[in-house]
Amino acid sequence: MQTPTRIDLNPPQQQVVERGLLTSGFNCIIQMPTGAGKTWLAEQAILATLRNDQRAVYLTPLRALANELVDKWKRLFDGFEVGVFTGEYGQHQAYPVPFDRARLLVMTPERLDACTRHWRSHWGWLPEVGLLVVDELHLLGDPGRGPRLEGAILRARRLNPFLQLLGLSATLGNRGELAEWLAGVHFVSDWRPIPVAWRCTRYQRATDKPRILHEEVDRCIAAGGQSLVFVQSRRRAEALASGLAKLGLAAGHHHAGLDSNERTRLEQEFRSGHLRVLVSTGTLEMGLNLPARQVVLYDLQTFDGSDFVPLSTNTVWQRAGRAGRRGLDTQGEVVLLAPSWDRTADQYARGQFDRVLSGLSDQAALSEQLLADVSSGLARTRSQLKRAFQMSLAAHQHRLPPVDQTINEMVAAGMMIESNEEGSRNTVVLKATRLGRIAVRQMLAPSTVVSLAKAFRSSPDGAEPVLTFLDILLICGQTKDCEPLIPVDFEELEDLSSKLAREYSTLLSGDHSAVTARFHVSGRRLLAVIKTALVARQWTRSGDPDGTAETFGCYAFEVRRLAESFERLLTAASSVVSPTKDNNRDSDDEYLRALLDEGPPLHERMKALTSMVANGLDEQTVTLTFVSGLGPKLASRLRDAGITDIEALALAEPDELGKLRGVSRCRAVRWIEEAAALIQRRSALAFREVGTKARSSTAAWPVEVNQYRLRRALDLNVRQQGEGFEVSGGLEPHRVRLEVGKLGCDCGDFAKGETCKHLLAVRLNQQDPILARLVKRLQSAACSRELDLHRLWFEGKQ
């Protein structure tokens, strides 16, 4: 690797090098805008570490970016082995370059968390790490991923006191505070390779936005530039891109749902200049390198899972960071499309980034990390735990929840045990219970495992309803660790109901109240859980992520990520219900009885389901994998050849079977024998689903006022503003004003002559008696003998 000459370094890089910040030995935080050369600085630090015969770890939150970097670094750090460790956590995987051999380890924060939890298995390389680079350091403030990153950093530093940390970010509101927490130094520069001009373009009505966009983009392209447009949803990205294309512009749309080939093609076309406009959701903002002269933020809101919220300054700047191509543009341009009545958009340009607040300030997140420490043997008593977490960012910010109380709750929930230590001392020690260890092993929140245990462990009297595969998926799906949850649109409810009608489910049978009482989520979240479970079930039937995605209106990558998520949950659930060694004789007899009578016990079905979900196999094909040496790929091949389950295998002819690719006659004979032996114990039919089907309904509605819009209106928030109202909570905020004696709205629906939902919302807000009566009619469930999906939708976001 060549060391660049002084001339090649840009001003902030020069400053960092001159001040010796990377070689000082102190922990260091560097804040520089996107594209200003942070990665190069990280590479220098890594190279120095590798040359010093030490290992380096680089953390990045995006798997795609990790893989990109590794390809680049394998060439750059020639002579040093580079390993990448992302993907499923908790699974045993054979990595091309194993941990012990890699000198530079690229991984996600979750992977490092897993490694530090099981540090004894990684003791061959952890102590040799000299440098830990944390890219996107602001991730510490993310409620979901931040705590795992923080836990990983804390444990890594305790296990390896010689570790030097290098934190990188473009958007830190409290860099100094973070540097203090790490007892290190920090550096900031706002130098950008290309200067950037910020501008707010205002619109009166939302319907004006496409026209404004076209003007902006057109002007940019005519001057020889390219434009990157960020929008809040995939549908909008597709719609706008095709709209612009129809007007003669070379436009394309980019979002997370594209497969990697499509994405690569699009990105190449944009880089080469064939594409002039790229409309995208937020995926580009994280690290992938696609600058353009102009960046337009078409929407200043984003969907956070349940609601639309304004974009954070951090996000706006991460997107704006794309503006200006080195060597091609003299200036970059950032355009924000903001409503005329809202002045808050002006503050984005000031660049006051949010203060990164530790995610460990959430008690549930703290529980998970406390449990991880206890389970991994790094802390055994309350005072040890307290001292360990005093070093956290949360504690530094005085936001750490009370540790004692959190421990008490975990003991009460059965995740930890507190007992006197064996021996003469009067010490009280903490240990993880079997449930606790399952949570730590599978990287699940303690509450998730508690929820699984409650749902799956049999009651003392033994009279349990038989849970179908869908039921098991529903129970897993309602935990907070199931992601992504596929949201449900109002328009889908009927379709969802008919899909449900084809499924066997004990949990979803019964009247509305009985069914909803079985779950601890409700409303739209429950709808999403139901849909997500259906997606997973469909995946097991078809093994086809694209087809499944198409059927349910989601993305293939979501189906795959879902499968991973369920696999983890099911593995944990299997551990929770599997008989332990310390079973007494009574439960052994019960077990035998169950074997002979009912059908496979719950844990066997769960194991089968785990394999079904992991490999996209249905309940018949999965029985083939019970034969040792018969893996999922071979099982699919057998199924395609007509051997659909283990009974068919037992009856197969060895010669016929031996003709299949990958199957020798000798193997075939062995398999057939084993299959025959297995079906003595259990019939394959036993895995077929029986029982009640899930029945649900979408009740009939009155016609006076458009019910669809009225329902929508119930979700909106109305705020008085001057002489009119601001109605928010939908895709866009809108203004309703008194015009010529009547209420008028600035939305497209109203412009078409409809009584739009915003108007209805305002009327409801003003206590319109007619509407209030109608709403009451809608809400009283006429028929609650079944699960009423519309009623769930009503209950709102939960």
């Binding site: 030995g25 003791w123 102590p127 296990l159 006191p161 360990a388």
Partner: protein
């Protein structure tokens, strides 16, 4: 105290040079001292070599990445269940545990050392202060016999072999050392000084006598590793010392700078940090800045309380 100008500035071993004077931390393998497992990967950062006793070395599964000194385990002859026998002219250690008898022959020691050690120490038998002169002389003669046997039977050329010197007073130590003066050992090691350390001038006289008897070979002293003492030893003709105190104190939650205080209920990683600080202090190495939170963090100081028994 003059030493011969012929003494090397480092020991060249198969796994790298050991710069002299060297402070060699002791480590163990197996389940008895789990803290050693935590500490061991970090030893190369703070030391040039590690010492392990034959008994623990047998349980070694993975060789550490720094030069390894392996002593004979003859120390066990001090235990109640041990007997030193003369068999074939050599000193053999016989120990009985749970009715089972185990013998340790110089051949067993040398074979193992030739497989794993960079620096080997001959099978010796310390003479505790309370022992009778007769028994002391017997042990001394067997110590010398074992050493002579080892130098004649050493096969590996690149393994350094140190002859062990024992005794009970200045004269006996000198006599033992003189027995080695014409032989081709790579160094001399003095044992049995730990129980005698209270009379430090006596210790120095012993060292001086041994030095005078063998002026031209590197001199190692077993077990004396306390900061303060080590500097004096190095000034008085000793080239290397070994000690396990750094980790024993840490296991107790103690810091070498302040042995009257201790951290009650230290977690495994806190003990690791203490051990590393202790080793750095003893070996006079600096800890990296990233570890500054160990020494300067108020975490410990606030929580250290007077130890039950002061002193380390």
């Amino acid at each position: 105290m003059k030493t011969s100008g012929m003494l090397p500035s480092s020991l060249i071993t198969a796994h790298g040079p050991i710069r002299l004077p060297a402070y060699v931390p002791v480590t163990t393998f197996g389940d008895k001292y789990p803290l050693d497992d935590l500490v061991r990967p970090y030893l190369p950062r703070l030391a040039h070599a590690a010492m392990v006793s034959f008994h623990y070395a047998k349980q070694m599964r993975e060789r550490p990445s720094l030069p390894l000194l392996v002593d004979s385990g003859g120390f066990a002859s001090l235990f109640q269940n041990a007997v030193v026998r003369k068999i074939g002219g050599l000193g053999v250690l016989e120990t009985t545990t749970d009715g089972k008898k185990e013998t340790l022959h110089p051949r067993d020691v040398l074979d193992f050392q030739e497989q794993h050690a960079d620096v080997a120490f001959t099978l010796d038998f310390p003479v505790p202060p309370a022992m009778s002169n007769r028994e002391g002389r017997r042990r001394l003669s067997l110590t010398v016999a074992n050493a002579r046997w080892a130098i004649e039977n050493r096969r590996r050329k690149d393994m350094l072999l140190f002859a062990c010197v024992q005794g009970w007073d200045v004269d006996s130590y000198a006599t033992c050392a003189k027995a080695y003066s014409k032989l081709t050992f790579d160094g001399i090691a003095i044992g049995g000084l730990v129980p005698r350390v209270r009379d430090f001038p006596q210790v120095l006289r012993i060292i001086e006598a041994v030095r005078a008897a063998v002026p031209d070979k590197p001199l190692h002293v077993f077990g004396l590793g306390k900061p303060g003492i080590v500097e004096v030893l190095f000034k008085n003709g000793v080239q290397s010392v070994d000690s396990s105190s750094y980790v024993k104190l840490a296991a107790d939650g103690r810091f070498w700078g302040q042995t009257s205080l201790h951290l009650p209920d230290a977690s495994p990683t806190e003990r690791l940090h203490l051990a590393l600080c202790n080793l750095a202090v003893a070996a006079q190495r600096t800890l990296p800045l990233s570890a500054s939170h160990l020494v300067f963090g108020s975490q410990w100081w606030d929580r250290m309380v007077p130890a039950a028994s002061a002193g380390g």
